[in-house]
Amino acid sequence: MEDSFENMDPLQIGEDYRDKELAGKAARRIRELASDEKQTYKFMHVCGTHEYTITHSGLREILPPNVKVIAGPGCPVCVTPPEDIALAITIAKQPNVLITTFGDMMRVPATGWGSLNSARARGAKVQVVYSMMDAIEAARNNPDLEVVHFAIGFETTTPPTAVELLAGPPENFSVIVSHRVIPPAQELLLKSGEVALNGFILPGHVCTVTGMRPYMPISEKWKVPQVVAGFEPLDVLLGLVMLLTQVNEGRAEVENEYTRAVSLEGNVRAQEIVAQVFQTADARWRAIGSIPESGLTLRSEFASFDVREHVSVEIEPPKFEVPPGCRCGEVLRGVIGPRECPLFGKKCTPQQPVGPCMVGQEGTCAIVYGALALKSES
């Protein structure tokens, strides 16, 4: 079963959260809380799945005009720096190497380099995996090849990488580590002041692992309210009620709407496993720049799994973060919406993505384009 937003909840666990009457009441409460039209409220989410929920449920259309919900840098494949993609492509072209990675990474272009997909079309060995377990299995099944897993993703995706490295993968297995952590990116956006934010909708699935503590210093330092929210439209509406209430009451706290899956402490075992294998380091986010302590590198005990210990490779980093004309950087920083990019839907479509934000299930441009395409079909 592939991860797919169309069927986020096949067991209908969140069924109660589809209560339309309650959603109506929440929307009404939002209007009441934002009844002072002179005050604008701008909230950012940092998760592609939230963007999907918000865009496809038409949630922005039912909010009062002075309540804005904008997308931030919540798309892991979009923020993966082009030099890492170029590295993966270069390695994939070597004989006796197989690259494994998640599906969404395949089509992300690095300017001047193409994508892993186009490299595969020209004969490079690249295999899409659903899980870190599949990557390990590929190494076991191909003892004559160096199998290199291109490990991307946020705090939800890092624990599987860590747990498999800890378990001792085969000798022909290594990783390109491009994992990122979210809170330092939030801090950077707050520090830059480029967009005046009144609060954050925190990424529910990331928080199932991290819990709520890593976000508390941000609320304290920047006096900004944050609410962990789930992924049904009602979850987001209730999260907004909580954020607006905090703003109106002058509070800046980390609160939890997604109580059915997120706790204060999160998944402590997963956190410990990650800390055993990785340490934080400064890291680049595509079209955003370097962010202190926002990436992970292997601790010295695990350095033998670093790709550079297995494959020797020199690359010349791509000259452009994104192709000229692509405004993905501003989209990721919440400065503009996709439709403000002149290439959106014209030169840039999910079939022919110009920039990374038009790729995959979590790219903001791709999600907005997908919803518009659905609308025009019906």
Partner: protein, 77 residues
């Protein structure tokens, strides 16, 4: 990528579990969430259970919201 899908645990064998995603069954890893039992609902991300889903908590929270949203808004009389 950060999407996690709920599933119900059907059986457990060491650190693997067979789970039901509403008709589709699949073997997942419990390496990150060993403290689980058959019948539990878990969130699965890229083949790994990462957290339990507490259905009772969901109901309790929603009941609370029903109450809160039925009362008059006190901040804007």
């Amino acid at each position: 990528m950060c999407l996690a899908i709920p599933a119900r645990i059907i059986s457990i064998e060491e650190d693997k579990a067979t789970v039901d995603f509403g008709g589709v069954t699949r073997v997942i890893s419990l390496a990150l969430l060993p403290d689980t039992a058959v019948g539990d609902y878990v969130l699965v991300h890229t083949g790994y259970a990462i957290q339990k889903v507490d259905r009772d908590e969901a109901e309790k929270t929603l009941d609370l919201w029903r109450e809160i949203l039925s009362t008059e808004d006190k901040t804007n009389p």
